[in-house]
């Protein structure tokens, strides 16, 4: 048993359980974090009654979800109604398995468990599984999460839920394309699909991918917001228009699972952005955060750094949510298809070209390519009469139309 825990398989099991538990806890505190940030943005106090600084609030909320009556309305499709939150939960529970949390761990430095091993005898990878398709696994898992939303909305048998599901479906399909293309830009630059190698190479060279492809990083962040159904892309739940969107009919623990799914996918997508573009667990000039540092303490430091970067990104998610208004649906679609897809296609083609000339690791060449793509996009946009988020040119104003029709009626 003692030896089993320091084999890769046993360690992976422990790590999976640990990360899963931490993510569940982090989700609860993400909600607290979100409410506090909302409060600061709006110059309020936020939750401050349960416990010191309101820190017990998430626990109270969680208990409320568990103990409320688990009600299933009579008009729903029962099987799918129950299945949908389950899908959401499973998807959010298996997505993080591929993420590298802390490079390599020398098993001999683990107190007590690794005491019988020689230094360097057994190296463990601080990652639950290492697949050779790496990032494709994460894309596959994330593409399944749309079923949770769509089935939840459809099975509720309610027009508002249904609209939410339709919106989520179209949105996720549209935003998966630029997301995949920007991820491919990183894959071309790094020459591997394995996330742990992408992180390790950024740490080894000290050059994070965001310094090579800032535009791709920005596009990936925007699509990550959309994939996690976060504002300004939260059209699927849009309280002001659709009551609660796809989870209008849900309550108690099933609603809690949807909530959990949303926040867990925020954590997973921001961890993905951190690994692909922000150097994973690496920070400059800290000896504990290099490839060579493999002791248990160094690994714990790396995991802390990674978690810190994820927390910063989640703060940005929330900051965006409480600062920007929601897109209208046609704006959302145009942003995806007319701006993000062409730009990410351009970046992808340019990255392939750089790879052909062997310049894919050169920072000036990559930055120049990003600048060219951005300049092209700005040039095209400035030729159009309205910004991409404005009113579509070929749609006539309702008032104009009324004038025309009234005139026609009079004649």
């Amino acid at each position: 048993m003692k030896d089993f825990l320091v084999t890769q398989f046993g360690f992976s099991l422990v790590l999976a359980a640990l990360v899963f538990a931490v993510i569940q806890g982090a989700v609860a505190y993400c909600i607290y974090y979100e409410r506090k940030i909302a409060a600061w943005t709006q110059d309020r106090y936020g939750p401050n009654r349960a416990g010191p600084l309101g820190l017990l609030q998430p626990i109270a909320d969680g208990l409320k979800f568990v103990f409320k009556e688990d009600y299933i309305p009579g008009h729903v499709d029962k099987v799918l109604f129950v299945l949908a939150p389950g899908i959401m939960f499973v998807v959010c529970g298996i997505g993080f398995l591929i993420l590298p949390w802390g490079g390599q761990l020398d098993a001999s430095t683990i107190p007590w468990l690794g005491s019988h091993l020689q230094p360097g005898e057994r190296m463990l990878s601080v990652q639950v599984v290492s697949l050779n398709v790496g990032i494709l696994y994460l894309l596959a898992v994330m593409s399944m999460s749309v079923y949770g939303v769509v089935l939840g909305g459809w099975s509720s048998n309610n027009k508002y839920s249904f609209y939410g599901a339709m919106r989520a479906c179209a949105q996720m399909l549209a935003y998966e394309i630029p997301m995949g293309l920007t991820i491919l830009v990183v894959v071309l630059t790094m020459g591997t699909l394995r996330l742990e190698e992408i992180a390790a190479e950024q740490a080894a060279s000290g050059v994070w991918n965001v310094f090579r492809h800032p535009l791709a990083a920005l596009i990936l962040f925007i699509t990550a917001l959309a994939e996690a159904n976060r504002a300004p892309f939260d059209l699927a739940e849009a309280e002001q228009e659709l009551v609660g969107g796809y989870h209008t009919e849900y309550g108690a623990l099933k609603f809690g699972l949807f909530f959990l799914g949303e926040y867990a996918s925020m954590i997973t997508t921001s961890a993905l952005v951190v690994v692909l573009f922000l150097g994973g667990w690496h920070v400059w000039f800290v000896p504990a955060l290099t490839m060579e540092a493999t002791s248990i303490w160094a690994v714990l430091a790396k995991m802390t750094v990674m978690a810190g970067k994820v927390a910063i990104l989640i703060f940005v998610y929330m900051w965006v949510r409480w600062s920007l208004p929601r897109f209208r649906f046609d704006q959302l679609m145009r942003l995806a298809w007319k701006s993000l897809v062409p730009m990410s296609l351009g970046l992808f083609a340019a990255a392939a070209g750089l790879l052909y000339f062997g310049l894919h690791r050169s920072i000036p060449a990559c930055l120049a390519v990003n600048a060219v793509v951005l300049a092209g996009a700005v040039a095209v946009a400035s030729r159009g009469r309205t910004p991409i988020t404005g009113r579509q040119a070929n749609l006539r104003r309702r008032t104009d139309m009324n004038d025309v029709s009234l005139a026609e009626v009079r004649t």
Binding site: S125, A140, S143, F162, E201, R397
Partner: protein, 277 residues
């Protein structure tokens, strides 16, 4: 393949086909328990045939996933509700992807899930949900030409089984690779890996614990697609482009902007037709 296995397989097909014929939705007949029983017998025969062939599977996981895939496929065509059909299709795709993983074809598995389950079937579900707002249509409750389609299924199965049994006879698993992978590996080594790939393979992996992806199947697939199957790849890309242009051409309609019609509509109908913006 031994004659015993072959005849068991035939029996499985006949039983399965008969069961399927009775299971296909038909409002005159109602739910057919007999059909389900015959189909279940067919499944048992199929399992026996699998066991007799022996080497095709890799243990219990293969049988479980194979059964899941088969049963879900049957439900795809026999379920009267289209949304459920599409969901069973998703389950089939997932089971097949898992079978691919068992065979070491991880790239294929990931591509299957991303493209079929993640994109195409989401679109199906989208369309079905949009189209089914006024309840299921009568077309969904009666399958069209069940007998002919079962026969067509037989012919397809015959072709596939003939090829599979030939492949089983000439099966040489000396290297422990599946045939497809051996072929892919040979393609890559024959043609020499493309420049970018060669560079990456030459680069030593900096960590010892994770073995470097030697002939990792993403790389092998990439090599094969960009060398031996280049023309096919380009042609299928062109075909998709043509289909896309066709779809845009067909769906693009001029919206008649006549607000006057809505105003002249009879009382009670006014305001039902909202002009776009």
């Amino acid at each position: 393949m031994t004659p015993a296995a072959l005849y068991t397989l035939y029996a499985a097909f006949v039983l399965g086909g008969t069961g399927l014929y009775f299971l296909l939705p038909n409002p005159d007949r109602g739910k057919s328990l007999a059909g389900a029983a015959v189909g279940a017998l067919g499944l048992v025969a199929l399992i026996v045939a699998w066991a007799l062939v022996g080497e095709a599977g890799t243990g219990a996981a293969f049988y479980v996933l194979g059964l899941v895939a088969l049963l879900c496929t049957v439900r795809v065509i026999t379920h009267p509700k289209p949304v459920y059909s599409a969901l069973y299709f998703v389950l089939t795709v997932l089971a097949v992807a898992a079978l691919c993983v068992l065979q070491g074809a991880e790239f294929l598995a990931a591509a299957l899930v991303i493209i079929y389950a993640g994109a195409i079937l989401v679109t199906y579900v989208f369309v079905i949900m949009l189209a089914q707002q006024s309840g299921p249509s009568s077309v969904d409750r009666r399958s069209r030409e069940p007998f002919l389609s079962v026969c067509a299924g037989f012919v397809t199965m015959a072709v596939i089984t003939a090829h599979a049994s030939k492949a089983l006879e000439s099966n040489d698993q000396a290297a422990g690779l599946t045939r497809a992978e051996a072929r892919l590996a040979s393609v890559v080594t024959e043609s020499g890996a493309p420049a970018g790939l060669a560079e990456d393979e030459a680069k030593p992996s900096d960590d010892g614990a994770n073995p470097p992806a030697v002939a990792g199947n993403a790389m092998a697939m990439g090599g094969a697609v960009m060398t031996r199957y280049m023309v096919a790849l380009q042609l299928s890309g062109l075909l998709l482009l043509i289909a896309m242009v066709g779809a845009v051409a067909m769906s693009r309609k001029r919206v008649p902007q006549e607000g006057a019609v809505a105003l002249r509509a009879p009382l009670g109908q006014a305001g039902r037709e909202v002009p776009p913006y």
